[in-house]
C-alpha cells in the first residue's frame, strides 16, 4: 500500500511533454542575420541606426510568402510608404496603432501572441518614453517567451535601449557609423547609412558591417 502511494507521487516520464521548438530560421541574407522562430529578438539602437529597417526586411520576406505579420505601433510612428518600398505586402500586415500608450502596446502584443500563427509580431516601442519602458516588469517578456516558444512566430522588439532582459533569444545593437550624401553644395541627396551591428546575445563575434540605401521611388 505504502509502496503504491509512493509510486503514485512520482509522475511517469511519459506524462512529461517534450518541448517542441521550431528549428526553422529566417535568413536575412543581405544583413547577415538569421532569426529563430518561436523566440524574442530585440533590436536596439540610437536615432537613425537602422533599427527600423531590419524589421521591414523581415516583414517583406514573410509577407511575400503569404504569412500574416502584425505590427504593434507603440508611438504611431509607422510609415507604410517606406514599408511598401521595402517590399512589405501591406495586405498581409495587421497594423495596431497604440497612440503612445505603453499599456495598450503590451496588451495588444499579448492578444496577438495568444492568437498564434503570425509569422512575426513587431513590437515597435520607438518614440515611447524611456522612463516608462524601464518600468515594464520583466515578467511580461517571459510570458511572451513562453507563449510563442512552440509557435512559428518571431517577436521582434525595437527600442532605444535594452528592455527584454534574458527573455530574448537575441539582442542586437545597431549603430550608424556614417551617413553618405551625394551631390554638391545645396544640391545634395541622402544616399545610405553605413551600419554596424553587434550581437549581444546568442551569437557572439565581431560587429557586422552593412549598408542601408535610400529609395526615392515614388509610391
Amino acid at each position: 500500500m505504502s509502496k503504491n502511494l509512493h509510486l503514485s507521487l512520482v509522475r511517469s516520464l511519459s506524462s512529461l511533454q517534450e518541448e517542441k521548438e521550431y528549428i526553422d530560421e529566417i535568413l536575412l541574407d543581405h544583413i547577415g542575420l538569421s532569426l529563430k522562430r518561436g523566440t524574442i529578438v530585440e533590436i536596439v539602437g540610437e536615432a537613425s541606426s537602422g533599427k527600423t529597417s531590419v524589421p521591414l526586411s523581415l516583414l517583406s520576406k514573410l509577407t511575400k510568402t503569404g504569412e500574416i505579420c502584425a505590427l504593434v505601433d507603440g508611438g504611431n510612428s509607422f510609415d507604410p510608404c517606406t514599408a511598401f518600398l521595402a517590399g512589405v505586402e501591406l495586405d498581409n500586415l495587421f497594423w495596431i496603432k497604440c497612440g503612445g500608450s505603453l499599456e495598450k502596446a503590451f496588451l495588444a502584443s499579448d492578444y496577438l501572441v495568444q492568437a498564434k500563427g503570425f509569422g512575426a509580431i513587431w513590437l515597435n516601442l520607438n518614440g515611447l518614453s524611456e522612463h516608462q519602458l524601464r518600468m515594464v516588469p520583466k515578467t511580461y517578456w517571459y510570458r511572451y517567451r513562453n507563449r510563442i516558444k512552440e509557435t512559428p512566430t518571431v517577436l521582434l522588439v525595437t527600442a532605444t535601449e535594452h528592455i527584454t532582459g534574458s527573455a530574448s533569444h537575441r539582442s542586437l545593437l545597431f549603430s550608424r557609423e556614417r551617413t553618405e550624401w551625394s551631390g554638391n553644395g545645396r544640391f545634395k541627396l541622402l544616399r545610405q547609412f553605413h551600419i554596424s551591428l553587434l550581437s549581444q546575445k546568442g551569437v557572439y563575434g565581431k560587429p557586422l558591417q552593412t549598408k542601408i540605401k535610400m529609395d526615392y521611388t515614388d509610391v
Binding site: H30, S48, E67, F78, K97, Y111, G127, K188
Partner: protein, 420 residues
C-alpha cells in the same frame, strides 16, 4: 411506392410568390416555382393527412387562411396535377379531383392545332375519348413524338420535379419574460438561440458568415447589429464572443425586451489546406483578436495599411474593415534593406539657426546640435490646388544625432520624423 404531387395555379402567382412558397413549405421541402403557380412533392402525406383529395383540401384551407386565390390539384404525376389545377372553376379557391382528369378537354394538352381539329371532326374531344383510341394507331398516324401526349393521358408521365426555390436565411426569435439591462446577461439565451439556429443552417447543408441581430428595447426603439466574418463558420462560441465584443463596443441604450437573430446561408468552408501552406492564424482567432484589439485601442486603430494616391504629408490610411488576407505574392521579396522613415507623433518642435541661407544649428527639447549635412529645400503640400504652397522640407543630419526630416510651415519649425 407511388408518389404524389401538388400543384397550385394562381392568377396572381407572381405577386403572391412568397406566400405560395410559404404555403408549399408547410407541406414539402422540394418546391418548384412555375410561371403561373407552384409545384411541390407531397408524397408520404397520406399517413399524416389522408388521401390526395384531403391533402388538396388542406392546401386550399391554407390558401384561404392567407387569402390567396388559387386552384389546387393533387395527382400521381406532375403533368396530371398541373393540368387539373389549370382547370377554371369560377371559385377563388378550388380543389380539382383526379377523377376529373378523364373529362379534361384535349385543347389543354400539348397537341398541334391541326391534329386537334382532326380529333374534333372525329368527335374525340376529351381525354377519355382519346384513351379509347388504340395507342399503336395513334403512334402509327402521328409518329413517336405523340408518345408524350399518350403518356400524359395515361398518367405515366416521367417528368420530374426540379426544385428551384432556395432558402437563404433562417431566423430565431425570443421574447424575454423580464427586460434585461446588461447585454452579458443575455449570453445564456443567445447561446441557446444560436444553437437552434445553427442546427437549422446545418440541416440545410449550409454554413453562415453573416448574422443580423435585432434587439427590441424598453424605450420602444430597436438596436440592430450586423456581424459578418470573412469565412463561413458554425462555431457557436466564436459567434457568441464576436457578438459580445460588437455589443460591448456599441451597447444598447435601454433594457432589452426581445431578441431576433437571422443567419444567412453561405457555402461551408473547405477545411483542408495545402501541404506546404505557411502557418497563419486561424480565421476565427484572427477575427476575435481584431475585435478584442478594437475594443482596446479603438475601432479606427486596427486594420491593414492602405496607400493613398494623393500628395499628402502622410499619404496612407488604416483600413479598419479589412483584415490581413495572407495572400502569396508572385513578386520576389526585396533583398537589400532600405532606409525606413519613422514619424514623430506629435511632430517635434524645433528652433533652427539659419545663417546666410544655410541651416546651421537645431535645438529641440530632447537634443541639439550642429547641422552637418542637409538636402532641400523641398516644397510639399497637400491639395495645393486649394491652398498655397506652405510646407518646406529638408533632410538634415544633426551632429552626434540622427538624420531627420525638418519642416517649416508659417515660420514654425518642426521635425516630422526620423530616417532609421
Amino acid at each position: 411506392m407511388s408518389r404524389s404531387y401538388a400543384c397550385i395555379i394562381s392568377s396572381e402567382a407572381k405577386r403572391d410568390s412568397q406566400i405560395l412558397t410559404a404555403v408549399a413549405r408547410q407541406f414539402a421541402y422540394s418546391i418548384e416555382m412555375i410561371e403561373d403557380g407552384i409545384l411541390f412533392d407531397v408524397s408520404g402525406l397520406e399517413r399524416l393527412i389522408g388521401n390526395p383529395e384531403q391533402v388538396a383540401n388542406k392546401i386550399v384551407a391554407e390558401l384561404k387562411r392567407k387569402n390567396v386565390p388559387g386552384s389546387v390539384a393533387v395527382a400521381e404525376t406532375l403533368n396530371t396535377a398541373t393540368l387539373l389545377a389549370r382547370q377554371k372553376s369560377g371559385q377563388e379557391q378550388a380543389v380539382h379531383s383526379p377523377d376529373q382528369f378523364h373529362q379534361l378537354p384535349l385543347r389543354d394538352l400539348d397537341i398541334e392545332r391541326d391534329t386537334l381539329n382532326v380529333f374534333n371532326d372525329l368527335g374525340i374531344r376529351s381525354v377519355e375519348d382519346l384513351l379509347a383510341v388504340p395507342r399503336s394507331d395513334l403512334i402509327g398516324r402521328y409518329g413517336q413524338g405523340f408518345e408524350n401526349v399518350i403518356n400524359t393521358i395515361e398518367q405515366k408521365s416521367t417528368s420530374i420535379l426540379t426544385p428551384n426555390v432556395k432558402e437563404n436565411q433562417v431566423s430565431w426569435n425570443y421574447d424575454l419574460e423580464a427586460s434585461v439591462e446588461n447585454f452579458e446577461q443575455l449570453t445564456f439565451v443567445l447561446n441557446h438561440g444560436l444553437g437552434q439556429l445553427f442546427e437549422q443552417v446545418e440541416h440545410c447543408g449550409f454554413s453562415t458568415e453573416h448574422l443580423d441581430i435585432l434587439f427590441k428595447l424598453k424605450n420602444k426603439t430597436e438596436k440592430a447589429y450586423e456581424v459578418k466574418t470573412s469565412f463561413p463558420t458554425l462555431e457557436r462560441t466564436f459567434w457568441l464572443k464576436l457578438i459580445n465584443l460588437r455589443a460591448s463596443l456599441d451597447p444598447p441604450e435601454a433594457e432589452i425586451m426581445s431578441v431576433n437573430i437571422i443567419a444567412y446561408f453561405a457555402r461551408p468552408r473547405a477545411s483542408q489546406r495545402g501541404l506546404y501552406a505557411v502557418s497563419r492564424p486561424e480565421p476565427e482567432s484572427l477575427l476575435l483578436t481584431a475585435n478584442k484589439l478594437k475594443k482596446l485601442v479603438g475601432e479606427d486603430n486596427v486594420g491593414t495599411p492602405v496607400l493613398l494616391d494623393q500628395r499628402l504629408s502622410q499619404p496612407f490610411a488604416l483600413d479598419g474593415d479589412k483584415l490581413p488576407t495572407g495572400r502569396e505574392s508572385l513578386d520576389a521579396a526585396r533583398v537589400d534593406p532600405i532606409i525606413a522613415f519613422s514619424y514623430f507623433n506629435p511632430p517635434l518642435g524645433a528652433e533652427v539657426l539659419v545663417r546666410d541661407g544655410r541651416l546651421v544649428f537645431i535645438k529641440t527639447k530632447f537634443f541639439s546640435g550642429h547641422v552637418i549635412e542637409y538636402s532641400g529645400v523641398w516644397k510639399a503640400n497637400s491639395k495645393w490646388w486649394e491652398t498655397s504652397w506652405k510646407t518646406q522640407e529638408w533632410d538634415v543630419e544633426v551632429e552626434n544625432n540622427g538624420v531627420y526630416r525638418l519642416c517649416k510651415v508659417n515660420k514654425e519649425w518642426f521635425l516630422a520624423g526620423e530616417y532609421d
